[in-house]
């Protein structure tokens, strides 16, 4: 199984989580990461499994690097039936819009027929936890349930 870890980021924290996931799973899977701003909708294929790692920015918005793919999904509405993905969100529970960004991108995928696997993983910046410490057990659990 090919795994693509795609991330939407503003500060690079989501990129760090994506790197962690790739590093932890690269012995067992064909896995690579990419900034969502470099992913086009024609790249999204049912042959891959997707980890979507996404932060939240501003007033509960998608981070900038996730916006082009999101806009493209909204505009072209590709059929994503058969595409499986799991979502990990980064946010700050200090704000009412905690982890809204990852919710927006997950909903965009499911609305086009993709199926979300497992619960959305969440990292809270205020918790003081290392994002990777939360993301890795979550990612392994997602894969074990496939």
């Amino acid at each position: 199984m090919n795994i693509k870890v795609i991330y939407g980021t503003e500060t690079g924290n989501a990129e760090m989580v994506a790197d962690d996931i790739v590093e932890a799973l690269s012995d067992d899977f064909d896995i690579e990461s990419a900034d969502m701003s470099k992913v086009s909708i024609t790249d999204v294929s049912a042959e891959n499994f997707y980890f979507v790692v996404c932060s939240t920015y501003g007033d509960g918005e998608l981070p900038n690097s996730a916006k082009p793919l999101f806009d493209s999904l909204e505009r072209h509405k590709p059929d994503l039936t058969g595409v499986r993905f799991a979502v990990f969100g980064l946010g700050d529970s200090f704000y009412a819009t905690y982890n809204k960004g990852s919710e927006i991108i997950a909903n965009a995928f499911t609305a086009l027929g993709a199926s979300q696997v497992g619960e959305r993983g969440l990292h809270d910046a205020t918790s003081g936890d290392l994002p990777g410490d939360v993301a890795l057990p979550w990612a392994k659990q997602v894969l074990s349930a496939l």
Partner: protein, 425 residues
Amino acid sequence: MSAPSVAIIGSGPSGCYMAQALRRHWAEAEIVIFDRLPVPYGLVRYGVAPDHPGTKAVTRQFERMFERDSIQFVGNVEVGKSISLEALRAAFDVVVIASGLHGDRPLGIAGEDVAHVYGAGRITRLLNDHPDEAGLAPRFGRSPVIVGNGNVAIDVLRLLAKAPADFHGSELSEESLAQLVAHDIQQVHIVGRASAVQAKFDTVMIRELAKLQGVHFEVSADSVLGEATDAAQLAKLEAILGLTDRPCTQGARKVVFHFGWAPQSIHSTHGAVSALQVSDATGNSKVIDASSLITAVGFQESSGSSLERERISSAAAQLDKGLLDQGLFCTGWYRRGPTGTIPDNRNDAKQVAEHIVAHWGSKVSAKRGLQAIAQGLGDTVSYQGWTRIDRAELSIAPEGRQRRKLRDIASMLKLAQTTRSGEQP
């Protein structure tokens, strides 16, 4: 091709993102980040408000960079004092200045030199326990006035208006809290030149104010609200007006926004500020009583900075690419001025890094890097030294606080067990 040796001046977000970006291009290059303080992270540690620990968590990325990507930290080295910029350039193939903008931009109006007028940069440094401000004891008084409508102005407003109990979970020190509670602040006025819809602060900063306990918000009746022309402006306006809908509680502190009013002059009594005169676009003016004045209208180079950009730029400088001179570059606020948050400085560093790589081309490194200058640097702090400070600060955090920062350089150096120049860390 051999990768260059790289020195980065300043370990704030811009400097750290620059190191991260250059490491991706050059896996083998020696990359050293210098800071004038013994501790890293610049404005993440000393500019981001002490009650925004989630924003400060970006340091997790930078820790990883120092720990795993062999980026070196050399603290307690002030370029211009410990070593000249020329000597640094002689030792490193590429030098990148990411030292930010330290000075508070003045209002440029009459009376600014009277007592009890403070720059917001100094205040946020003070409340973040910056060693430079150890001697500052601002006299906020009962009715401070803030000038400016950016995120820094809102940070200062929130810190002044917040009840002591609401600092739970922050990094605010007992000393900083004492500075805030010493004045029995009754009301805070905040004055901005722009209309409410065009105010520069982010809407999320206003939503945060809605969580403050025991604060009553008003928008002055003569404020200019403006017409919202898009969804973002409408959301901003609704957030501002939403603050004023809350019921007024007994004994609440009052916060009053004045939108569309520009500062004209500062009135004083016995050498200290007493009021701020402001005027609107139609020429009306009014006077707002002020026990102190905090200016939050941007940042600029400190006077007498040894890294003054104008002075060190050559005729070949291309500021849009971050190029100042042969082998000398800059990024972040130092390059573009004091606008944009942490993500903007990440993008800036990535773009300038591309230019640095292109500029270097396939040259061969001819300079020895850190080992060429290590002898003469005096007491320096390595990343290992910083981790000793970091662990100590976390371990002595009192109940309800994430960290207790060391507040003076001597304690930092002592804890870090500084490396004498020339010794291996």
